[in-house]
């Protein structure tokens, strides 16, 4: 467990005990087609007041990992192993009743689609009041006061009038604000935001991200933000974990990750999006193929069928998440030699295509 012990620790040095520490978490679902290895041994930690960004594409297991933290995958024939330590308490084995006292109270979640996460037949205020009453012994009138206060806090104009609106009377941005208000109802210590802005326009997205950052400062919350958007994590996250096929394949503090990414999948993600700050003539380098099935995962390194730099033995050997030589806050699960990776990334940064980079480094393109 050398990797997991070091993971995230250096950047958090001096921060004391992490608020949330996930250790070797595995979540498997039995289906008719076979076992889905949704989350396959991930380890990370988050400290108070800090933000972890989990990046990955659809089906990389990032959402399942956080739903499991809240105990929301329990009833689905899931097999869960590993530990989820929240303030030292293991949530994996916690009885439902105790977990319910934590969920929505100390740990809250904001979901991707605000329209389907709000009940269409209840007023927004009633849903907020319910969130307050679930964990606080206050009167209904007091809970309503709190609901209005919360709507004001997240920047909804005229909160006292809006509290009696139905979700359909809110715009998309306002619904997401209401969802955040609900998540914050009990001043959680940890906020899990699963693609909180994916369904929103850029100007509204910027508002919501600024709101989350402001509330984090005010409440000293820890945040786990899950997204496929590298721009969003670059803005929000102190630490970044890149997930692929149910595993973390690279993790580092944000500035370190963007200054020198180590995993070919991370390179692929960075090179396949056009950047506003880059030259316009940049060529996009797509990652070939498609994400693998989590039922029949590729042998060896799960990324090898899509990796332009894969060597024959990468189809056999499963890489562990290990520190990058000389950097104890940067971990990567890649079988390529560290020096080769550095040269490859330099070539890619210079605008060369993967096959040219491969030739320039003399690695040989013997694909398995």
């Amino acid at each position: 467990m050398s990797a997991s012990e070091a993971l995230g620790a250096p950047s958090a040095a001096g921060l004391g005990e992490p608020l949330l520490r996930v250790e070797d978490l595995r979540v498997q679902f039995a289906t008719d087609d076979g076992i889905v290895h949704a989350v396959d041994g991930i380890t990370y930690q988050v400290h108070r007041g800090r933000t972890l960004g989990i990046v990955g594409e659809s089906g990389s297991g990032k959402t399942v990992a956080s739903l499991t933290t809240l105990g929301l995958t329990r009833q689905q024939g899931a097999h869960i192993s590993g530990r989820i330590l929240f303030e030292g308490r293991d949530l994996v084995g916690l009885p439902d009743e105790q977990l319910r006292a934590i969920r929505g109270n100390e740990i809250a979640m904001v979901f991707q689609d605000p329209l389907s996460s709000l009940h269409p037949l209840f007023r927004v205020g009633a849903q907020l009041i319910e969130a307050v009453l679930a964990h606080r012994s206050v009167s209904r009138a007091q809970a309503r006061e709190r609901a209005i206060e919360l709507l004001g806090l997240v920047g909804i104009p005229d909160p006292a009038g809006r509290v009696d609106n139905y979700p359909h009377e809110f715009s998309g941005g306002m619904r997401q604000r209401a969802m955040i208000a609900m998540a914050l109802a009990n001043e959680p210590k940890l906020l899990i935001a699963d693609e909180p802005t994916t369904a929103l326009d850029v100007t509204v997205q910027a508002q919501i991200l600024a709101l989350i950052e402001r509330l984090q400062r005010e409440l000293n919350m820890a945040i786990v933000i899950i997204t496929h958007d590298l721009g969003v994590v670059a803005e929000m996250a102190d630490d970044i974990a890149v997930m692929y096929a149910g595993r973390i394949v690279e993790t580092a503090p944000g500035s370190v990750m963007f200054a020198g990414p180590e995993h070919p999948y991370t390179w692929g993600l960075l090179k396949s999006i056009p950047m506003l700050s880059g030259p316009r003539a940049q060529s996009l380098v797509p990652i070939p193929g498609t994400p693998p099935s989590l039922i029949r995962r590729p042998s060896g390194c799960h990324f090898h069928p899509r990796c332009p730099y894969a060597q024959p033995d990468h189809a056999r050997i499963d890489p562990a998440l290990e520190p990058v030589p000389g950097k104890d806050d940067h971990h990567v699960a890649c079988l390529l030699d560290a020096a080769d990776r550095k040269r490859l990334w330099a070539e890619l940064q210079a605008g060369r295509m993967p096959d040219q980079a491969l030739a320039a480094t003399g690695l040989g393109g013997a694909r398995p």
Partner: protein, 339 residues
Amino acid sequence: MSEPLVGVRNLVKHFPITRGILFRRQIGAVQAVDGVSLEVERGETLGIVGETGCGKSTTARLIMRLLDPTSGEISFEGRDITRLRGGELKSVRREMQMIFQDPYSSLNPRKTIGSIIGEPFAIHGMHKDKAERKQVVQTLMETVGLNPEHYNRYPHEFSGGQRQRIGVARALALRPKLLIADEPVSALDVSIQAQVLNLLREMQDRFGLTLIFIAHDLSVVRHMCDRVAVMYLGKFVEVGPGDSLYGFPRHPYTGALLAAVPVADPAAHGSERRLLSGDVPSPAFPPAGCRFHTRCPKAQPLCSQKEPPLEDKGSGTRTACHFPLTREEVAATGVRSAL
């Protein structure tokens, strides 16, 4: 100067809002597109950007004649096509094709890929010989990077990116002159987006296509387009060459859009962003004067009284604004463009 491939003049589309069941009467209109003019030159890529509900898809559908305009004119190769019907419309439609946003709902799940891509031939009575049509379709499949052996497969057997390739193959079948891509990559995973964007560029070079590219993602539009039109509440607020528009946006809305884009580079995060407040007003009740004045940080009394015309402000783009942004203001809004 050759004539533009597409010309649009004062295009308006209002969707009526009605009340009553027996006695339907119109009580208002959603002003989805309200006086849009543009020209698309042969071989260029024009990008239309804007937020949800700004009318960019409606504009595309009007140009395709999938919707009938309330007023205004659309010309294609110099010919007025605004009122064409029947056979004449059908023959113009051969020249323009569309790629849709959602690769899941835009392919008929009960048809094989071969018959989906071959459908345009069936509609226009081309390649009637079965073996010949199969051959042409398989060549198309190869062109867009699909395995021709998958001719008899169904859409559900393909991933999102591959489905979008099927959409591209279908759009290219008739060798159109104009291709309209409406958010072609926004439903796809990041790693797949680049595959489809590269394919579109390659096809454009290969077949000399003119492309109208509609998206809400400003980085993608900058990458793909020669000229860009920014749309807000049914009107163009700024139109111009991509480099000018991204380098020195003059309309406060363009500036706000650019400032709002998160950039995947922590080193670029310098100045605090100036955020737009509020939401886009309803297109059924657009604000008077400049439609952006309710959210504009530079709004003056004049802005709510007089609508600014789209005109040259001396920096390469045409901008509809009484008080366009200055260089200092652009720097202060935190626009991350490195131009």
